[in-house]
């Protein structure tokens, strides 16, 4: 027992663990933040609630009819369907029209009479995404066709214009919402968050730690002793992987309690896959930090590697939305590979057979980067 206590690997592991656990910010960003993010996004995307959309109506007097005006199509639609006229604090007029929908969630339209210039400013600010204009009895819709929200507002409202009875009559289309476990957005999100957590934890917890210790000349002080150099890195990575198990476990526990998420595939396969993902990112982290003593450069390198993966690897939304030519490349990113594998175990019921190849690739990635990093490693 005394031999273990006096062994340098054990003392290095203890030192790293103490350093980690005594830093409240680490606990917040490692455990609290992912849980808050899953809660926020989970609630936002699982409970369908009414949405409010603002629509700009260009030109004067579409909302209020005066004797001098001829009645416009928009005006008659709003008046016939009892859109409520409201006066804002600044004296501006708007009409509100609520279209209830029990299955998909209702839509509350707010129509505002605006000049073209004001409407464009509000569109740029994201306050509205649909602008309507009327010329000779024909309605023109202006919106960004690349914006799915704008497209949806257009489709819903133009349909309403054609069939105003939809406001009071439920849609005849038979919609059966899919909310079985595994098919919800939260089921897609949580495995992604776990994988992103592993990547970020390794990048900051291994890469940044090494660079910071080098900049403080602590690495140099350590290697001036008989410390085995590999022990230093093994201890750092061991503590980080253990911490990743705790962080991911707590996130899963939270998601299980709140959103009833389950693991449909093999748990041992998940553990193996999780370890290989950790090794891949730890290896990359050692490689990234092998040469610099400047934390500013470290920051840049970590962001350079992690940001593209965070955006492209399909953590929050499927990467299949990206152009087809880019998908084979995206699928080769370690984060994509890990997220795809973990998701397949969580929601598709995958086992060892399905994840073995990506697990081996990730393991090899980690070993290759770790070895290259060690070769180039500067201790001072």
């Amino acid at each position: 027992m005394n031999d273990l206590k006096n062994s340098q690997l054990w003392q290095l592991i203890l030192a790293n663990a103490r350093e980690l656990l005594r830093e409240p910010a680490v606990l917040f960003w490692g455990i609290g933040f992912p849980i808050l993010m899953s809660l926020g996004l989970g609630v936002a995307f699982t409970k369908k609630k009414d949405v409010t959309v603002m629509v700009a109506v260009i030109g004067r007097n579409h909302l209020v009819h005066t004797l001098a005006d001829s009645v416009s199509v928009i005006q008659s639609f709003l008046q016939n369907n009892r859109a409520v006229l409201k006066v804002g604090k600044d004296g501006s007029l708007s009409r509100e029209l609520t279209v209830p929908d029990e299955k998909l969630g209702g839509t509350n339209y707010i129509f505002r009479d605006l000049s073209w210039k004001t409407a464009m400013v509000m569109l740029k600010r994201g306050n509205l995404n649909l602008v309507m204009d009327e010329a000779q009895g024909l309605i023109q819709y202006h919106f960004d066709p690349m914006n799915p929200d704008a497209q949806l507002t257009y489709l819903k409202f133009s349909k309403l214009m054609q069939d105003p009875e939809l406001i009071i009559r439920p849609s005849e289309t038979e919609i059966q919402p899919l909310d079985v476990t595994g098919s919800r957005y939260i089921d897609f999100l949580v495995p992604g968050l776990i994988c992103m957590g592993v990547m970020m934890s390794c990048m900051w917890g291994v890469s940044y730690e090494i660079i910071e210790k080098r900049s403080k000349k602590l690495l140099r002080r350590m290697i001036a002793t008989p410390m085995k150099r590999s022990n230093f890195l093994v201890a750092l990575i061991t503590v980080r992987i253990a911490m990743n198990f705790v962080e991911s476990g707590l996130l899963f526990l939270f998601a299980w309690l709140v959103f009833h998420i389950t693991i449909q595939g093999s748990v041992p396969a998940l553990i193996l896959f999780f370890i290989s993902g950790n090794i891949a990112f730890a290896g990359i982290a050692v490689f990234l930090s092998c040469n610099t003593a400047k934390t500013e450069i470290g920051n840049g390198l970590i962001n350079l590697v992690s940001m593209p993966m965070m955006v492209l690897s399909g953590i929050f939304f499927s990467y299949h939305n990206f152009p087809g030519w880019s998908i084979p490349a995206i699928q080769k990113f370690p984060l994509t590979m890990m997220a795809d594998g973990v998701r397949s175990i969580f929601i598709e019921g995958a086992g060892f057979g399905e994840i073995m190849l990506p697990a081996v690739i990730m393991l090899a990635t980690g070993v290759v980067f770790f070895t290259a990093g060690l070769k180039l490693f500067k201790w001072h």
Binding site: N6, L14, R18, E19, K216, M222, A224, T225, P226
Partner: protein, 256 residues
């Protein structure tokens, strides 16, 4: 019988890009000798010590530790050398005892030795304090404690009292004096404080611009210096301390 030197520096040169930091230095340190490398910033003291530590390699020349070169003997040397670097920061969130325990483990030493060292450097009361909460003097004592864990045969201290207040400096000196009395360790200490060199060391090497300007015991330096300059027209009597020796050698103060 002449004692065998524990450190031999033979015609060592070292350059960094266009800066010739060390220019052909020769030096010998005997067992239990306390040697001060005295010189202003940029004199080449740290580079010389780093080469003795084995962290830097000389461009030319040779450094022998107990008669052997660094190459092939690194493991053995790491066990007998203790050192304190300029501006080393330990892990902020470790306690004093935990820091000593960590470094002790590198030498396969246990808690008992850590207790001894804490007592030697006077940090018993700070045993549970986090490193981040220590004062400058306490941190320096910790660095010294870490350097002494392995009961080093050779101790290299790079400006161990720079930035400390007079009280803290004196406390560090007391620890080093105890070490000197034990007559087990050879010390190389770099400093730009004359008083430190005068109080602690029995051999002083004055360096500037990568070369040794003068070396010897304090007595030698003061005596020799006065003899050297007696012939000069503006002779104003023998120098009274090392600062005056330095001014006579370089025309400026050591701290400039």
């Amino acid at each position: 019988m002449k004692q065998e030197a524990v450190i031999q520096v033979k015609n060592v040169h070292k350059s960094f890009k266009s800066v010739h930091a060390v220019k052909g230095i020769n030096l010998e340190i005997l067992p239990s000798q306390f040697l001060a490398l005295l010189g202003p910033n940029g004199a080449g003291k740290t580079t010389l010590v780093e080469m003795i530590e084995g962290i830097q390699k000389p461009d030319s020349g040779e450094i022998l530790i107990t008669g052997k070169p660094w190459k092939g003997n690194e493991k053995e040397f790491r066990r007998i050398i203790g050192l304190s670097l300029q501006e080393t920061r330990f892990i902020d969130k470790l306690r004093v005892f935990e820091t000593l325990r960590l470094f002790a483990s590198f030498f396969s030493l246990g808690a008992e030795r850590c207790e001894e060292v804490m007592s030697l450097v006077g940090l018993e009361e700070k045993r549970q304090a986090y490193v981040v909460n220590l004062s400058g003097g306490q941190r320096q004592k910790l660095a010294l404690g870490v350097a002494l864990l392995n009961k080093p045969k050779i101790l290299l201290l790079d400006e161990p009292t720079t930035g400390l207040d007079p009280q803290a400096r004196r406390e560090v000196w007391m620890i080093l004096k105890k070490l000197k009395d034990a007559s087990f360790t050879s010390l190389i200490l770099t400093t730009h404080y004359m008083e430190e060199a005068e109080q602690l060391c029995d051999y002083i090497v004055i360096m500037d611009h990568g070369t040794i300007l003068k070396e010897g015991t304090l007595h030698d330096l003061l005596g020799k210096s006065s003899a050297d300059i007696e012939e000069k027209e503006e002779y104003r009597g023998p120098p009274r301390n090392l600062d005056e020796v330095f001014i006579e050698l370089t025309g400026r103060h050591l701290n400039e």
